[in-house]
Symmetry: C2
Subunit: 201 residues, 2 copies
């Protein structure tokens, strides 16, 4: 964003001491980022540009013991991770309620359904039943491929598994029925564009 003086003259910020060397090769600079980091960046971009308001929910914890040292902040001394009962991300995009979970897999040729909890799928169905859009973002870490996976495909694969079929969604099915997207710069992952192609591709 260019900031201008009231007269319209462009504001030039004073030279800042350079703390970091400039990035070398953009294709390498983002290596090692987790999907969560990439989505956080993307959501920050969406928010700053009034495209969408989407946040990751905090990790649910069972707090058991809290200390209150005098004159300092409360310190949690014993707490445990709880299984989330919903998905990790939700928000609003262009009037539409958005609800999704993000999953990385190191498997190359399929997405294992054990990455999803039954109650997460139930939650997603409930959201879709109210008129929201529920989906998964799946990242294959080996190939660096990303897919926005509509709930319908997840549900179908889940039912197939419950009827004794395979316990994963094969890559070929994702290529056919999900929307693949690539990592970019701003936003890092334009996953909402992919989601808006559900049912079109």
């Amino acid at each position: 964003m260019a900031i201008r003086y009231p007269g319209g003259r462009k504001y030039t910020p004073p030279e800042q001491p350079k703390k970091k060397p400039p990035k070398k090769d953009s294709s390498f600079s983002n290596r090692g980022k987790t999907l969560e980091d990439e989505l956080d960046e993307s959501n920050a971009y969406y928010l700053a540009n009034n495209i969408a308001v989407i946040h990751k929910k905090p990790v649910p914890l069972q707090i058991v013991k809290v200390d209150y040292p005098s004159r300092s902040a409360a310190v949690i001394r014993e707490a445990y991770f709880k299984t989330p009962s919903t998905t990790d991300y939700n928000g609003i995009y262009n009037g539409i309620h958005i609800d999704f979970d993000a999953k990385e897999t190191g498997i190359a040729t399929s997405f294992p359904l054990k990455n999803i909890h039954a109650h997460q799928l139930e939650h997603m169905k409930k959201v879709a039943g109210q008129g929201g859009i529920a989906f998964l973002i799946v990242k294959f870490t080996v190939s660096g491929r990303y897919f926005a996976v509509p709930l319908e495909l997840v549900e179908r694969a889940w039912d197939r598994m419950e009827n004794g079929g395979r316990k994963s969604i094969p890559l070929a099915e994702l290529e056919e029925e999900a929307v693949e997207f690539r990592a970019g710069y701003l936003p890092r992952l334009d996953y909402l564009k992919a989601v808006s192609e559900f049912g079109i591709s």
Copy 2:
């Protein structure tokens, strides 16, 4: 909910051993419940009856130290409460994105604006800008009165404060411009009904 056999004959559950004495006076039985408890109950009712999917977000924590005792669950040994950057509740109701915060006050005649953080108000404005409904649920603990307060009223009071005016919303303004609702049984707080009256009352 009455459960019936396929033939329509009413199902009568077998007599259960009574663990608790029966409730005496319904007007007293819910005393001492926090607004959070009441909203949790109401949201569970909305969810079970496919009316809405609304959840409280977990409390955001900064986790500093985690122990991994062998053969047991990870234990968080040092963590701190973080200021939430959004509101506490969101979800979807009838296709509409819902976003709100719940506040109790022990003050009898006004709602102090110090209960709201500036970044929470900013978040609510962003949500409204995307087409969601953002609001506050305010409970006056002394009188047991509840109000669903539209964002517009909160914004106006906030701007007034920033321009040197009073630092609270007087009860009379809430009576005039917010939607009051009463605690009931199922759901405990039918706040979505109140919200659907925004702009009508």
